[in-house]
Amino acid sequence: MKNDIVLAGVGGQGILSIAAAIGHAAVSSNLNIKQAEVHGMSQRGGDVQSHLRISDRPIASDLVPAGGADMIISVEPMEALRYLPMLSPEGWVVTSTTPFVNIPDYPPVEDVLAELRRLKRCVAIDADAIAKEAGSARASNIVMLGAASTFIDIPFERIEDGIRALFGRKGNEVVEMNLKALRAGREHSEKMR
């Protein structure tokens, strides 16, 4: 088993929380994991990515080879497209359709969605709307994790445990709300596959 994932988004959108939850799930499933993150600038608003590799065999490179990613998980539609050179010909794109517009030349959203529709394997969902429905607009990153979970070869319960580990300190209410967001994302993605 091997899942090579590229996580994409804009600084402050919470892609590292997605990585941390999957990481926890992978470790508790006794899988090998390597996760390369880009830290650095504290300002919000630049594009950010993280490489996440999970395997039952030893993993050599911290970086996913270009053209080798099994999946791009993106919390922003234009950011999903930025990493297409990383995606394997058989890979999936799982992305939110809600644009994050913080640059003057952000393209028309319709053009971005049209590019996504041209992809062979793409699950594009309105993560913000689903998150709001589940109880918190701030959980759209967790909705995306839920949507992506159908493509990750780790039992779903382990990923739920990952959420519990990630938000446990913040109390039961926050955990339950995020679990709800996670499950809602998964349901939407199952419908779209």
Partner: protein
């Protein structure tokens, strides 16, 4: 013990704690910052009474670590690669004094310059100082190296460099810990004059350092971190260092068919290098950063066996390696992804909405209108983003502290008014001495110390002189009449423009201190307080 997920930086920090660390000294800098932050957050470190405060700059960090070593205890120094330049004086001389307690210097390189001004390779410094280098290829190795590095330092009687790169520092993977070793007690060096580098003593010490080189090579030849793996295809041998070894193995999931020498401890292990050179018709060298080993093996005349790498174009001369570049060097084809569609636009980082630096640049740009552009010397920090639209406000960013001194030089040349823009942490890091130069000569410069009470760029670490910047400027001798404190807010724009404009007219040193806390740091503090 079971495995824990650690960033490379965290693995180093935990390895140091478990290796008998008594104090860590550091100045923040990507990608090294999380080492200190981990020790600061560690309950175990608190219980062990480990020193873990930020230093004013990398040089003061290196020297304090040497002092702790003098007193017999084990110390760790951490900074980013350009911090190595700042610490170089003490670093190089520490190789001559030698150590008492072990000293490990972590220098974090940033090939491809993800968040740096250059991509210098720290291994040059260690070679220059003639000390060993450890260069981990994964988080477990980083932990294991750090766990034993203090003993290596004590054995060879020099500091040891632990060289990492961005991918090592900021990549996470499972690490198995070992039992924590006790700290050393306070003890004076056996020779009371070991650290007195008077010429007569320095000459003796230096000869000891030279004699120690053979011991260091021997340590490398027997190091568990350097491994020789034979393979059937002797047309080419491969030398791979640190993280580059991972990219090699990524391309050969079932084992490399060529002989491979993995080097993770320097000086390079002579025996193994001779072995692979003799066994193969050519050598490919994979190293992250500059072609350090490649130049050594190839030699200036390049008249031995063919040596491939960054110098002959087999790999790019600059930038970090990755699995695909290494695949190409090996002649392996990989599937290609799709190109980036044209609709995708650049999304560069920018100053946060509501950041005080924004208001400073807005006011400065207006105040400078009568003089024309091209006279603002800035420095390193969040405010460097003033170089980008909509501000386009600055004309230089070179190294920490260079704003004030470059403005002085330009003013000396006749470019007046000349303006320096510097952050509070950068000012105390290495701006103060330059200001003294300007005060001593009465240079016609306007220095703006944009004081957000934090080290913003690297994540909001404590800034050395929060609340004391004004007093420092007075103490350095700036005329108090020309020290102006302003509050960078939209509503104060007109007033701030007036203040800056007035000081631009002053023929002498002016210091303007816009003071407003970084909004990211403020909100982090508020969150922490709410807990």
């Amino acid at each position: 013990m079971s495995k824990q997920l650690f960033l490379g930086d965290e693995a180093i920090a935990q390895g140091a704690i478990d290796g008998g660390l008594s104090g860590v000294y550091a100045y923040p800098g990507t990608p090294s910052t999380e080492i200190m932050e981990y020790v600061q957050g560690s309950k175990q470190a608190a219980e062990l009474g480990i020193h873990r405060q930020w230093s004013a700059n990398e040089k003061t960090a290196m020297e304090a670590a040497l002092g702790m070593s003098y007193a017999g205890k084990r110390s760790l120094v951490c900074f980013k690669h350009v911090g190595m330049n700042v610490a170089a004086d003490s670093f190089v001389n520490a190789a001559v004094t030698g150590v008492n307690g072990g000293v490990v210097v972590v220098s974090a390189d940033d090939p491809s310059m993800h968040s740096s001004q250059n991509e210098q390779d720290s291994r040059f410094y260690a070679k220059f100082a003639m000390i060993p280098i450890l260069e981990p290829s994964n988080q477990q190795e980083a932990y294991d190296m750090m766990y034993t590095a203090f003993e290596l330092s004590e054995r060879v009687n020099t500091p040891v460099m632990l060289r990492i790169t961005t991918r090592m520092a900021h990549s996470r993977s499972g690490v198995e810990r070992k039992p924590t070793k006790p700290q050393r007690g306070v003890s004076l060096p056996d020779d009371p004059r070991q650290f007195v580098l008077l010429p007569a003593i320095a000459r003796r010490n230096y000869r000891k350092l030279l004699a120690m080189q053979d011991v260091m090579v021997d340590a490398s030849e027997h190091s568990p971190f350097n491994t020789y793996t034979d393979g059937p295809k002797h047309n080419m041998g491969i030398i791979a260092t640190g993280i580059a070894h991972n990219y090699l193995m990524e391309n050969y999931p079932n084992g490399c068919p060529h002989p491979v020498l993995k080097i993770s401890q320097y000086p390079i292990p002579r025996k193994q290098v001779e072995q692979i050179y003799a066994a193969c018709d050519s050598v490919l060298i994979l190293e992250e950063g500059a072609p350090v080993i490649e130049e050594l093996i190839r030699g200036y005349m390049n008249n031995g066996k063919p040596v491939h790498g960054r110098l002959d174009g087999t790999l790019p001369r600059d930038g970090e390696l990755n699995p695909n570049l290494v695949a190409r060097a090996l002649g392996i084809e990989r599937p290609e992804g799709q190109p980036i569609p044209d609709v995708v636009k650049m999304r560069p980082p920018s100053l946060c909405q509501g950041c005080g630096h924004r208001d400073v640049y807005e006011a400065l740009n207006i105040a400078l209108e009568p003089y024309g552009t091209g006279r603002v010397f800035a420095d390193i920090g969040c405010y460097t983003l003033g170089a980008l639209p909509p501000f386009n406000a600055i004309n230089s960013c070179v190294d920490m502290g260079a704003s004030i001194t470059m403005a002085k030089g330009a003013s000396d040349a006749g470019l007046t008014p000349a303006v320096a823009v510097i952050g509070d942490s950068t000012f105390t890091h290495s701006g103060m001495t330059g200001l003294l130069d300007a005060v001593n000569e009465g240079s016609s410069i306007t220095v703006i110390i944009s004081d957000n009470s934090t080290t913003g760029m690297t994540g909001g670490q404590q800034s050395s002189a929060t609340g004391r910047i004004i007093d420092i400027c007075k103490g350095i001798g700036v005329d108090p009449e020309h020290i102006k404190v302003i509050t960078p807010l939209k509503k104060n724009l007109d007033e701030n423009v007036r203040t800056i404009a007035e000081e631009l007219k002053h023929n002498g040193v002016s210091v303007i201190i816009p003071q407003r806390e970084c909004i990211q740091t403020a909100s982090r503090k508020a969150k922490a307080a709410a807990k």
